[in-house]
């Protein structure tokens, strides 16, 4: 009971913060709200008995990545005009986006409310996890069952690094 109450509270905080990220005009405020979103997500992971993922979430997302975000925003040195943003003239897109988005939210909402979530229970119940240890289990899965996607992900990151270097390199290639 306490858990579901906590879940409801943290879930609504997460959603509220995520909405704030989108609606803030000032990019720094957006970034701060994004940190809050990440941290609330970490709390949700704890509620799901995934403490390791929660710790990683805080360290990597709320810590490392968001610091970089804020650095980039500072370095970009946005002027006031940029912050304000131009008034858009997308008359048709705005209302239709709002209507369609609303329909999507309602659709997903009904699904969530109607479905009795009896997903298939796996072998790793909270009891087994607390017996073996969360980190050990994540490590075991990564290096046994999911070793192939795990290794592939490294190439994904490598491709992304190469791409970032190419696009950000100062010097336009001569000759």
């Amino acid at each position: 009971m306490l858990e579901s109450l906590l879940f409801l509270i943290m879930g609504s905080i997460t959603i509220a913060c995520a909405l704030c990220v989108v609606f803030q005009k000032n990019p720094i405020y957006s970034a701060i709200f994004l940190i809050q979103t990440m941290v609330s997500l970490a709390v949700l992971y704890v509620l799901l008995h995934a403490q390791f993922i929660a710790a990683i979430q805080v360290m990597i997302y709320a810590g490392a990545i968001m610091v970089l975000f804020i650095f980039v925003i500072m370095l970009l040195n946005l002027s006031k005009a940029d912050e304000e943003g131009e008034r858009d003239n997308l008359f048709f897109q705005k209302p239709s986006a709002i209507i369609l988005g609303f329909i999507l939210v309602v659709m997903i909402g009904t699904v969530t409310l109607k479905t009795v979530f009896q997903g298939v229970k796996g072998e790793y119940t909270p009891e087994t996890i607390s017996q073996i240890g969360n980190t050990q289990l994540v490590g075991k899965m990564l290096f046994t069952k999911y070793v192939f996607p795990f290794e592939i992900a490294s190439i994904l990151l490598f491709a992304a690094i190469i791409g970032a270097i190419i696009l950000a390199k100062k010097r336009i290639i001569e000759d």
């Binding site: 699904v111 994904l156 491709a159 791409g163």
Partner: protein, 483 residues
């Protein structure tokens, strides 16, 4: 806790290892021998593609699941991998001179192309939604960068950014769909999902229905079907032409491979009931693609809309399903690879730095000035329009007959009507080339032995497969047995 390390079946993923390792070697060569070996990187990349192709070829006929059912080598994935490698090989042939001319001949260019190819092979061979997703991301990230490779060109930057933002957005839908499916079935493995759904009601579970619709959006974006096509023309126009050629073939084919595997294997039941939605998508894709293509004056934009229309035909093959659906999909994708890359080869040959001769009007009088080039362009246009004896006709015929056999007669009729509409804008290129006086002098052609080889391969593929399709069709039918 007992840990059992699963067997590492490296043989099954050897093509992927080879292509990745050599892509990294190309990067290293570019760093250490920039002065001396820079021009040789393209040749090296072709060699890598050829070697990988040979290794893939040896896998034909096997069915191997490896890495705890994360990856599968079957005829379906092998055949698709061969299509990817053919298209990548042709694109590299097209690139060797083009990149020099545009000043983008870095090693990273070839590395990213090879990485993208590797991502496509993962998508075709993914037996788990995780593998498919990672493959899709590797391919997409490489393409986002490749689209923006001409950094001094604003259009190229725009293309890259647009593709990246919309692509990331579409990826969210795909990922959400995968997560929902995982929540409903407790697994991401395609075979396990299929067996779960065979024993449990799938359509009454709203989670699975939502997951399916999200997956349709995610894949629909990657294959560029209407209404998820808005990015295509801008990205195709802004990207370097060789990359446009690559994007119009490889990623689309890969997305279709993954689409077919997920929908025909994991969700056959849902897929059947859902064919109504795919039906509407296919009809819209064909019609909108062809109608808007008529209005285009830029050849790259025209080919972009034509590729949207072709995605509609291919979608018809997935809807048809059954025995012939996947087979006709594979054959059509092979046909499309040859004819579309050929058309782009001609566009690249006629282009010059800064001035890409991208208006259709600029091709007027080509038939007198450069007859061979004009004839090959005609062949590609006729083939894309689906006129016999070229391969486009056989491909379309195969798809339409598969659709009719499985009872989608109205859809087939819409497809045929669309073919007639398409003839208009394909033939306009021919008319401009032969029946109009040149508006201005042609720039010297940007020819190289490699691009000529690419042109010969594509012309040969378009004609030969159109006249003697029997052997390939037998192979394709053999490859279409999913599981």
């Amino acid at each position: 806790m007992e840990i059992v390390i699963p067997p590492f079946d490296l043989k099954s993923i050897s093509p992927i290892i080879i292509i990745t390792v050599f892509a990294i070697i190309i990067l290293a060569i570019d760093v250490f021998f920039k002065k001396t070996l820079r021009d040789a990187l393209g040749y090296f990349a072709i060699l890598v593609v050829a070697v990988t192709g040979m290794v893939v070829g040896t896998q034909l006929g096997e069915t191997v699941y490896s890495f705890s059912n994360m990856f599968v080598v079957d005829n379906f994935s092998v055949f698709f991998s061969l299509i990817f490698l053919v298209s990548t090989g042709i694109v590299i042939l097209l690139s060797i001179r083009y990149t020099k001319q545009e000043g983008i001949n870095n090693g990273e260019y070839y590395t990213l192309i090879l990485f993208a190819t590797m991502g496509m092979m993962l998508m075709a061979g993914g037996a788990d939604l995780l593998t498919i997703f990672l493959g899709l991301e590797i391919m997409s990230i490489s393409l986002y960068v490749l689209a923006g490779f001409r950094r001094d060109c604003v259009r190229s930057n725009e293309a890259s950014l647009k593709y990246f933002l919309l692509g990331a957005f579409a990826t969210c839908f795909l990922l959400y769909g995968i997560a929902m499916l995982y929540g409903a079935t407790g697994t991401t493995n395609i075979k396990e999902i299929a067996s779960f759904l065979a024993n449990n009601p799938s359509l009454s579970n709203p989670m699975i229905v939502t997951a399916t619709s999200l997956l349709v959006i995610g894949f629909g974006f990657k294959v560029a079907c209407v209404p998820f096509h808005k990015w295509t023309p801008d990205v195709y126009e802004g990207a370097p032409t060789a990359i446009t050629a690559f994007m119009s073939v490889g990623p689309k084919v890969a997305a279709f491979a993954a689409f077919a595997r997920v929908f025909l294997v994991a969700l056959p039941d849902v897929g059947q009931k859902w064919s109504v939605i795919l039906w509407v998508l296919a009809a819209l894709t064909m019609t909108v693609g062809n109608l808007v293509a008529i209005a285009q004056t830029n050849i790259k934009r025209m080919l972009a809309y034509s590729s949207i229309a072709h995605a509609g035909y291919a979608l018809m093959a997935i809807i048809a399903g059954g025995d012939f659906g996947p087979a006709s999909l594979i054959f059509y994708m092979l046909a499309y690879t040859f004819m579309n890359l050929g058309a782009f080869a001609v566009v690249i040959i006629l282009g010059r730095k800064g001035e890409e001769n991208a208006n259709i009007e600029d091709y007027s009088g080509l038939g007198y000035k450069h007859p061979i080039l004009a004839v090959s362009m005609c062949i590609f246009m006729f083939s894309l329009a689906g006129i016999p004896p070229f391969v486009g006709f056989i491909g379309k015929f195969y798809i339409f007959s598969a659709a009719i056999k499985n009872g989608f007669i109205i859809l087939a009729i819409i497809g045929v009507v669309n073919c007639v509409i398409a003839v208009f804008y394909y033939l306009r290129v021919t008319v401009v080339m032969y029946m109009k006086k040149p508006v201005r002098e042609f720039a010297p052609l940007s020819l190289s032995p490699f691009i000529i080889i690419a042109l010969i391969i594509t012309v040969w593929g378009t004609i030969h497969l159109g006249i003697f399709p029997g052997k390939i069709i037998a192979l394709v039918q053999n490859s279409s047995l999913l599981y």
